[in-house]
């Protein structure tokens, strides 16, 4: 159970994040509406220079297909660049530790994982990646995948705006997301992180002679710049294998709270952006209540058992309670960074983590979480329409059978790419080959691996143990389909809204509290019905067997 100070600290962090997100949202709206502002004097010449060099026509408008394909192609080219850097890092500069290039399958997994904002890691960065790779493969993809996610989310919303004729211009949105949001925000965050104790240097690992005379390497590098975008961009991939449990990534309770706030900021701000872009602020309500309502249900599940004491798998400065809280937040916003060992977590905490990853909009990753919530709203509107016998409509637009087919297709991608590979991992012997059995704890680890991959989360139990060709290729394929499949379908949904007739809203208003509660209910029923048998074999069975953590 949760104590009063613990309850207050959670309430304070969530309250502050909501407030800051609400403050940030109008600025984000101005960026995407291209409203002139004070930064233009500095940034306009820079952006225009980029457009000129790239041959981008700023005034060109794109439909959903062109917008999506531009994003997909840019992402693929970026992954190819990062792949080459990882494979040839041994011959490239900024490699003071002299690390060799990565194997093809590990590099393939890593670039797909980071290029899609997933950040599942089958390597430990501190003994694998050169400074150049950490910067120009990892941090680079963390920025660009985060920007792509936000752009797709914003573009889909544009399709729903009354009188809209297009989805915008991907290149313009992408460049402005970097120059006006991610880079300036991350710059401030990175400097704060350094002040809190996160290293930022390029001078190589420092060798010291300890107090008792032993020789020891201190593994410093460009860490703060990575942590800033890893959290703000809900990426989650760490500089070190131990991620935010490693003291250099998260040196104190204060940095812990700061990093939690960073990952909540943009996904929450985009909820407010939704209503403001539409010009119907009240339509933010079901998304906000839905996302945070489900988030609080997840937290409630995770806080039923007592938080672990400082013991196996828990860092002293972070403590058990903040380890549990971080684990729920990082899956609720699909960041995937961890400040603990997942095996130290109670089965109910793992269950809450699964819920976050399976729902994907509590509030989910920035941009994509919003897209999923619109998907759930359309499904719910359809269900409510069936129950009340009225034509389903959202924002005054009639929901057609094609729309329902699209959202159901988007929803069904997940179960297919999570459940089939999980079974394959056992059937092919790949799970046994890395010493994972079919008992509840082992099954949880494999199911978690593919759930994390499909939902582009990135937290995992297996870590470097999964650096085998099967897991590298299987998770890469799942990650790719889990990212671009639903985005393409939901962009198609948004695109198909352009030019549709609007009627005066009749029936159940989607901006009502009643609808918000029905939305929460239908999301829970959909997700629970789909995944329940698998969750029973994993964390739920562990719970009823009396396990208090995953150490066996």
């Amino acid at each position: 159970m949760i104590t009063l100070p613990e309850f207050l600290s959670v309430a304070l962090i969530l309250g502050a994040s909501l407030f800051l997100a609400w403050l940030t949202a109008p600025y984000l709206v101005r960026v995407y509406k291209r409203v002139p502002g004070r930064l233009d004097r500095v940034l306009n010449p820079v952006e225009k220079g980029v457009y000129k060099l790239a041959g981008v026509d700023e005034e060109h408008r794109m439909g959903w297909k062109e917008y999506f394909l531009a994003g997909l192609c840019v992402n693929i080219v970026q992954m190819v660049i990062a792949y080459l850097i990882l494979v040839f890092q041994g011959s490239l500069p900024l490699n003071p530790q002299g690390f060799p290039g990565l194997s093809w399958d590990l590099a393939f997994n890593t670039v797909i994982s980071f290029g899609t904002n997933t950040n599942l890691q089958h390597y430990a960065g501190e003994v694998t990646l050169s400074y150049l790779s950490q910067m120009t493969a990892i941090q680079f993809l963390q920025f660009t995948s985060a920007a792509t996610g936000i752009c797709m989310g914003v573009a889909m919303v544009r399709g729903f705006i009354v009188g809209s004729k297009d989805m915008g211009n991907f290149y313009v949105d992408f460049v402005r997301t970097l120059t006006r949001i991610l880079i300036p925000f991350c710059l401030v965050a990175a400097v704060v992180l350094v002040a809190l104790g996160v290293p930022q240097t390029l001078s190589g690992y420092t060798t010291v002679t300890t107090v008792e005379g032993a020789s020891r390497s201190i593994l410093v590098g460009p860490v703060a710049s990575l942590v800033s975008i890893m959290q703000l961009g809900t990426n989650g991939g760490g500089y070190y294998g131990a991620n935010a449990a490693y003291p250099f990534m998260n040196p104190s309770p204060l940095s812990d709270v700061f990093e939690i706030g960073l990952m909540l900021l943009l996904p929450t701000a985009l909820i407010f952006v939704f209503g403001e872009l539409l010009g119907k602020k009240r339509e933010t309500r079901p998304i906000l209540i839905g996302a945070y309502g489900l988030f609080i249900i997840d937290l409630g599940i995770a806080f039923i058992p007592n938080a672990p004491a400082v013991g196996q798998g828990i860092e002293t400065r972070i403590g058990g309670f903040m380890s549990v809280f971080w684990t729920v937040v990082t899956t609720a916003v699909t960041t995937g960074s961890v400040n603990t060992t997942l095996s130290a977590m109670h089965p109910l905490v793992i269950l809450a983590a699964f819920m976050g990853m399976l729902i994907q909009s509590t509030p989910g990753g920035k941009g994509v979480g919003l897209m999923y919530m619109v998907m759930y709203i359309v499904i719910t509107v359809f269900i409510v329409g069936l129950m009340s016998g009225r034509t389903p409509e959202y924002l005054g637009i009639k929901i057609t059978s094609r729309d329902v087919k699209l959202v159901m297709l988007a929803f069904l991608i997940h179960p297919i790419i999570i459940l089939i590979p999980t079974v394959l991992a056992y059937a092919s012997g790949a799970a046994a080959a890395i010493g994972v059995n079919g008992a509840p704890i082992g099954f949880t680890q494999i199911l978690y691996e593919f759930t994390s991959a499909a939902s582009n989360n990135g937290s995992d139990f297996l870590g470097t143990a999964a650096n085998t060709p099967f897991f590298n290729v299987a998770t890469a394929v799942v990650i790719f389909l889990g990212r671009y499949g639903p985005i393409a379908i939901l962009m198609a949904l948004g695109g198909s809204m352009i030019g549709r007739a609007r009627t005066a809203v009749s029936g159940l208003r989607t901006d009502s509290i009643t609808f918000s509660l029905v939305l929460i209910g239908s999301i829970l029923i959909l997700v629970v019905l789909t995944f329940f048998p698998f969750l029973v074999l994993g964390p739920i069975q562990s719970y009823f067997q009396g396990s208090v953590n995953g150490f066996g």
Partner: protein, 154 residues
């Protein structure tokens, strides 16, 4: 007509990718490095602590202490990182009688208790629970009791 249209599509894809590589992958981390080294050199270089002018380790990374005259960090496989630099205040207090004994009583229990209590970190307002940094405590011991710890200086 079709080919010329396609060709013009490659350029933005390639150029935008390359520019974002340079800006996000090089310019940004280098800018942060410059600012960090100028404003917060101690933190930016890993919070290195010194003894007699030499670097003996980072305040954020645990190092082993074999001598029983020192506070002991957690075993490497106990924590999530394997390099947890801290122990709980309660753990530190429980180690005090053993440390005092090992020094032949030259460092008293009450002195050790006050060193631990005055170096507690980790709480701010309602967040966190009290802990102490092991390297920090042991460096204080060496500094305060040079004759007891003379093997480790000079």
């Amino acid at each position: 007509m079709e080919t010329s249209k396609r060709k013009s599509n490659y350029r933005p894809i390639i150029v935008v990718s390359l520019i974002s590589l340079i800006v996000c992958g090089l310019f940004f981390p280098l800018l942060v490095t410059g600012i960090a080294q100028a404003l917060f050199p101690y933190q930016a270089n890993g919070e290195l602590r010194q003894l007699d002018g030499r670097n003996v380790g980072s305040e954020l990374i645990a190092q082993s202490f074999n001598s029983s005259e020192f506070f002991q960090p957690r075993l490497a496989n106990e924590s999530a990182s394997g390099v947890d630099p801290d122990i709980t205040q309660a753990d530190a207090l429980s180690q005090i009688p053993g440390i005092s004994n090992a020094t032949g009583g030259r460092v008293s229990v009450s002195a050790l208790t006050s060193i631990v209590d005055s170096n507690v970190e980790g709480t701010f307002w309602i967040f966190g629970s009290p802990y102490v940094d092991v390297l920090n405590l042991n460096l204080i011991l060496i500094n305060d009791y040079p004759s007891v710890y003379q093997n480790f200086t000079g």
